[in-house]
Symmetry: C2
Subunit: 197 residues, 2 copies
């Protein structure tokens, strides 16, 4: 299973935003929505071997985590607005434990630390950062979780949490890319190593 954990430092945790204003009033939720697209979409197909964690840390009720499970997804479309609606619907659910808001979409009060606690026993955890090992120069296990940040870098505390669990840092090159573009490149690299049956 490929897992992508993306931290949204300002992304709203209550459904108080308009779908017309995902880049503004939702705290750059648009960045995270594009990550969902690049994690799951093949042409006319959805990757069933991918799970995405959007860790939302903005107002009014942080943290909350929206988890997308590829093998269960039914109503995911590639455009930002419809995926924004799935996230907003998820945020309408109020529960301390994880609950399902639509097929393949789950919402919880998990923090970044708790998400790391969940994914670390399941496989390698890898941080994507500009100064890591070049991504083509290493192998990857089948079970792997990539950790990315939104348009802001991880905070020092978040980097410490991550460093306490993994020393694996990879880079996709000297340039700095949007998180969703990094996911596209990593998905593609893993595809090349696992040819279709």
């Amino acid at each position: 299973m490929r897992r992508f954990v993306i931290v949204g430092h300002k992304a709203h945790t209550t459904p108080d935003f308009k779908l017309d204003d995902l880049a503004g009033g939702a705290g750059r939720l648009d960045v995270l929505l594009r990550c969902v697209n690049s994690s799951f979409f093949l042409s006319h197909d959805i990757r069933t071997d991918v799970i995405v964690y959007l860790v939302l840390q903005g107002p009014e009720d942080p943290p909350r985590t929206v988890r997308f499970v590829g093998s269960e997804l039914r109503y995911l479309n590639p455009d930002e607005r419809s995926t924004g609606a799935l996230v907003r619907n998820a945020l309408l659910k109020r529960s301390d434990s994880e609950v399902r808001s639509s097929p393949g979409v789950y919402v919880s009060k998990m923090s970044f630390k708790e998400v790391l606690d969940e994914v670390t026993p399941l496989g390698s955890v890898i941080y994507l950062r500009e100064d890591g090992v070049f991504y083509r120069d290493r192998d990857y296990p089948d079970d792997v979780a990539f950790v990315l940040s939104d348009h802001k870098n991880l905070t020092e505390d978040e980097e410490s949490e991550l460093a306490s669990r993994t020393k694996e840092i990879i880079s996709i090159g000297a340039r700095s890319y949007h998180a969703d573009h990094c996911i596209t490149v990593m998905n593609h690299e893993l595809d090349l190593r696992t040819p279709p049956i």
Copy 2:
């Protein structure tokens, strides 16, 4: 200069659509908007060495081409909605010759054939298709135009137009990807071959 030519077979050519309905009422304009994003955006930067042609072929006034020039762009943001607004504003302009609708955004009545006529003398023209030469196994000139289709394949007539100008076909792998993901992968590959100064 890197050029990306993307054909939108159903994308509307009159500004008769709502920004709330880019995937529906605008004829899958969302696909093309994501291509604009992946063509231009680096983290906190816009690529000034890229030009994008969106060739719109949907109702009510086909064909029309919206051209984005990276070195002149001022109001481009990564989200689909704001780029959709730039395209809709462009389509409000009525002129037989190419006119500027906002900094770096131009609109014309150019057809796919006419766009090919414009880009062919400027450098290599390369068609991205699943059955081409693997993209990592060749060199690229500085001046290159990549031709992609939206969620539909190029028509036979369009393939013939293209084939009369170039025999260069490349593939990014056995799987079939969304056009914007192909652009992200190609931009990244070219980045790796031209390290930052």
